[in-house]
Homo-oligomer: 467 residues x 3
């Protein structure tokens, strides 16, 4: 028997609802899978940092990289997530979600400036829906990427207890508040709406939010910690302290490059947005030209390509493309990576030889310097292919070379805000933590290796003799 129009209408509405549920499901699957990839980057950081430092400290360096994940999850669960995303609720890509949102807002000159969220502490049962959980997981692993960066710069001398306390502050307060400003509806995202500066501070996947937060904290921390014993000779000249295990560093780099395919394409939070493919390829192109740029520079300048710097070159390319990955052409991605690959080498030498700051793994250069380059490059090369309506501003995102100098201005403001906020909070936190428990191990501990005194074990153990 033929159905009536009313029956058909009802059936069609049900079918349409099934389709929309399927889209939501695909978006959640995508966000989770890419979030898992980003989580795996923790292993990459652990390997790069441990490979590029010395054998006597491997248990300590690995221990920091392991526990920072744990600390990060707990700090973000207690309050970081609420501060960061409490103002926006669950996002539209995840379908309708009744979660409330609340943001602390100040009014200046008749305009609103969001400071941080106020909703979602402890993931209480009332907010713990599937969309909120997906958002929590993805934002958490991003935060923890930032949290693990300073452990490289302060490696081989950082007291473990100080590391624990500092990492809690980073994950619960420092990162989430800056992330709120850019991704949680805060004031940097409102620069376009409020002052006509492009689409406000745009950072697709975190050149500033993730990498500069980690990189600036790394630089300030390494400066405050002081150089490792023996890093500078009596004339103040830097002495190379090579890493103990290059295969470890290369494996870590590959794991990071693998995870970055979660980092950047996953930041759509949407598997139904097919632009993920372009984002993935831009990320791949910049990683390649980053490593190749470093190779060409090293080969020409030193005659041989130090493999640890090839690793840093690849990472530099990916850090730089993180902000602009959705907004630029393929040749621009190649160019951005190439510049980053050279920049990271130059920056590492500058920090070591001119600033006299001892950053054992080059974290400040990889994540700080190249994160800044990434943010600026978005402001230069965004070509209007993507981002229509971003941060509530109509039209796609365009950089200086494509007709919108004000977008470049918004990028610069976000960059400065990052340096000021992260620099200040890092300084104050390390001062406070140092006063509480001390930041640096004793000279004896440092010379003999941190593994036994700080972790109660050796990282590489030889066998006890049989009786």
């Amino acid at each position: 028997m033929e159905p009536t129009i009313a029956e058909l209408t009802k059936e069609l509405a049900e079918t349409r609802q099934l389709v929309l549920s399927g889209q939501t499901a695909l978006n959640i699957v995508w966000t989770l899978v890419t979030g898992f990839l980003v989580m795996f980057m923790q292993a990459g950081f652990a390997l790069v940092e441990t490979g590029l430092t010395r054998a006597k400290n491997v248990a300590h360096t690995m221990g920091m990289n392991l526990l920072v994940y744990s600390i990060g999850v707990i700090g973000f669960w207690i309050m970081g997530f609420a501060l960061q995303m409490g103002g926006v609720g669950a996002l539209a890509t995840f379908g309708n979600d009744p979660t409330l949102s609340s943001e602390l807002v100040v009014h200046i000159g008749g305009k609103e400036f969001g400071l941080f969220g106020l909703h979602g502490f402890f993931l209480s049962p009332a907010v713990y829906t599937a969309p909120v959980a997906a958002l929590f997981l993805f934002q958490m692993v991003f935060m923890d990427t930032a949290a693990t960066i300073p452990t490289g710069a302060m490696a081989e001398r950082w007291k473990f207890t100080s590391f624990v306390l500092f990492s809690f502050v980073l994950s619960a307060i420092m990162y989430p508040i800056y992330a709120n400003w850019v991704w949680g509806g805060g004031w940097l995202s409102q620069l376009g709406h409020n002052y006509g500066l492009g689409h406000g501070h745009v950072d697709f996947a975190g050149s500033s939010v993730v990498h500069m937060v980690g990189g600036v904290a790394a630089l300030v921390g390494a400066k405050m910690m002081g150089p490792r014993i023996g890093k500078y000779d009596r004339n103040g000249k830097a002495v190379p302290i090579p890493g103990h295990n290059i295969p470890m560093a290369v494996l870590g780099t590959f794991i990071l490059a693998f995870g970055w395919f979660g980092f950047n394409p996953g930041s759509t939070l949407s598997g139904t947005d097919t632009h993920i493919a372009v984002i993935a390829v831009n990320t791949m192109l910049a990683s390649a030209s980053g490593a190749f740029g470093a190779y060409l520079y090293l080969k020409n300048r030193f005659g041989a390509p130090d493999v640890s710097m090839l690793c840093n070159g690849m990472l530099a390319g990916m850090v730089a493309i993180t902000a602009p990955c959705a907004f630029v052409t393929a040749p621009a991605a190649i160019f951005i990576g190439l510049v980053a690959g050279v920049l990271v080498v130059v920056s590492a030498m500058f920090i070591e030889n001119v600033l006299k700051i001892d950053d054992p793994v080059g974290a400040s250069s990889v994540h700080g310097t190249c994160g800044a380059w990434g943010i600026l490059s978005l402001g230069l090369f965004a070509d209007g292919r993507y981002g229509d309506g971003w941060n509530g501003v109509p039209g796609p995102v365009r950089g200086l070379f494509y007709g919108d100098p004000s977008q470049f201005g918004a990028e610069c403001i976000g960059l400065l805000a990052n340096v000021v906020w992260v620099g200040a909070v890092t300084f104050l936190t390390l001062k406070a933590v140092g006063w509480l428990v001390g930041n640096r191990v004793s000279a004896g501990t440092e010379l003999n290796g941190l593994d036994v005194p700080e972790m109660g074990m050796e990282g590489y153990s030889t066998e006890p003799l049989p009786e």
Copy 2:
């Protein structure tokens, strides 16, 4: 020209069919991708076990971890899959599948009790459809997780041939039959239907099915194998035998934590069930509080956090949340992990010092003890948010603290059945295998390392001199 009602109806039906096919496809994609992640956990186990044992046995320990995957696939292909899932056919989430199913059932007191399946041997062409293949892959990697656990507990002294034979029995018979009882429609899943004990024995992703099977076999095996030479001094006091490579153990732990995001959320077998996001976050929270619980306990008790125990703490948290991950709140997940992180340290010391059983990597504690805690915690903390109709019992799953003490009872029965079945089969199998080929290498082999005598090679080789 306007279509007729009949044409519209047909077109709508076709469209609806497309939607349903899309859902099936998403479910299969999800099941495969998460299954791949679980397969990758084999690498994690290999690294943790090898890192926590001695350099002279690395080829042997790695060789067991490599070949157990191979053995497991073959044993499961021959008969394990049929015994486990032969009674249920392909699941509804994968769409309509015409595969037949058949289960050996005994009748006691007018009630039916499933014992094992009888369909799907050798994946013959008649059953080898896409849904069956997806189910096979996912169940296979779960089984192999269990199969690889005992290799850690019996490491550094287990004869390779004995390991091969034992692993075949585990993968073809021992694991599949217990898994049938819980997941294949067998008698433990019928406890609710038959006796009103909650929803029967519920184990979302395998705290008992996977981890306790591995952990109980590990404990019984390590006891039967006896301690490594030199593990106990002449007064019977345990002597620490530290692992040779902590970075390896930490990398393995991260790989396991990465794979666990396949393990738990994948167990929905459905990407259209958005609850996967909540499951993933609960898993993350418990992994973090597991490591942090171990840190706090170790720091307070011993003054320094042994990194190998931080690894075990993280693993313990994940083992424990495996059963209840879909059924509990975020704070409960944190609590379950925290308890597991302490429990794993206490249990390891108890097994080593009181039971005098030498389990080199702590597999019995991580998977056995914390697996048991996970199963019990489901019976305590399930809050009624999920599981409506589970095992054919109406209403969601609730634990003791949320109004259903009988659910806790069903968990206890499943736990006891696990210990009895796995303990007995392990004992009998190792006895038989020992009689056939011997279980333990000679003292000389053990003292000099198993690599050359058992594997014909060194695990770490120095270079032969050039002529």
Copy 3:
């Protein structure tokens, strides 16, 4: 108010469009995620090759494996992708894509023979759509798998600059042109249409396109490079040079096995084709029987199972199943892997002892010999379950044992074309590169290790003494 028929029709059409967009999205998500897994195989190759070679060359071996990814991306971006896929545009599974396509075609005897594509150089903005980007990423990581294979065979003596230049040629020209012949609409794919040879040369995921290209280049390269100093004694008898780190090789093997779940199932380029589950299980079965076949053979012949050969056995099984994975039954997959696991051992001994070619990691046997076996096994065992309409030929793909001997013929032709093309281009390229910069390091460099002279650093560094 009830809608009119016209309104319903419009709404239904929109809903249907949403469904189709969702399918495209799922296909792109699947292609990207599996592509990421394949990219991660680079880490697996790096570990296997470095683990199976000597400690004094780890920075060099790792450096080649790292930079080959970078070189490959750039070479493929410049021209490789255009040569390979420029003739087919974006594929139908990714939805309608307006990308133009263009192929260089020659006419012989009234038939068309495609030689290479002419569209898509530099991924210029005009072609850089989401479908093209997804296709680029997936094809790029396949190419780079081939590119990384020769680095193992020429390890421990290959001049780094020569490696860089050779790899550019491989990624930009050599691989893409053969891949065009099979996957890009070229003449090998037209053998069925033109001459009635089955469905033309069929290679589901690359036993010939990827593995034989890498394996033949490896064999020719290792022959031209000559054996490592000390590999053959004064009587010409091969001297074993064991790898320095078995755990590294096993980890690499697991990473490769993990990535292969992207390699084979991903080659549908479609997540809506549920046959991906069957493909994944066939891959798993052959990997297992490959390792187990090697185990049985080694155990019987030598008394102990060399773990490095167990690794190669697992890889051999996967290489072999790569071509036929979509077309064969489960028992056939087991058989194909089992044969490969034995074949790889026999082939490695033959190449080393009879051909006197020194391939340090056995790449020629794993990828060349077993790649050839894989291609032939498709021509034997394809059972007609899949591939209806493949390469424009109606009906499913059937091998010799299932009624179509001409399919076996097409496989043989593709195999021969591979050996001739890859052999010739490798020979000519290495000759040219050798003339330009030299292919082999000096004897002194080789004896002392390539790390310091070629890479300017040590791979394993001991600590400088504190002042």
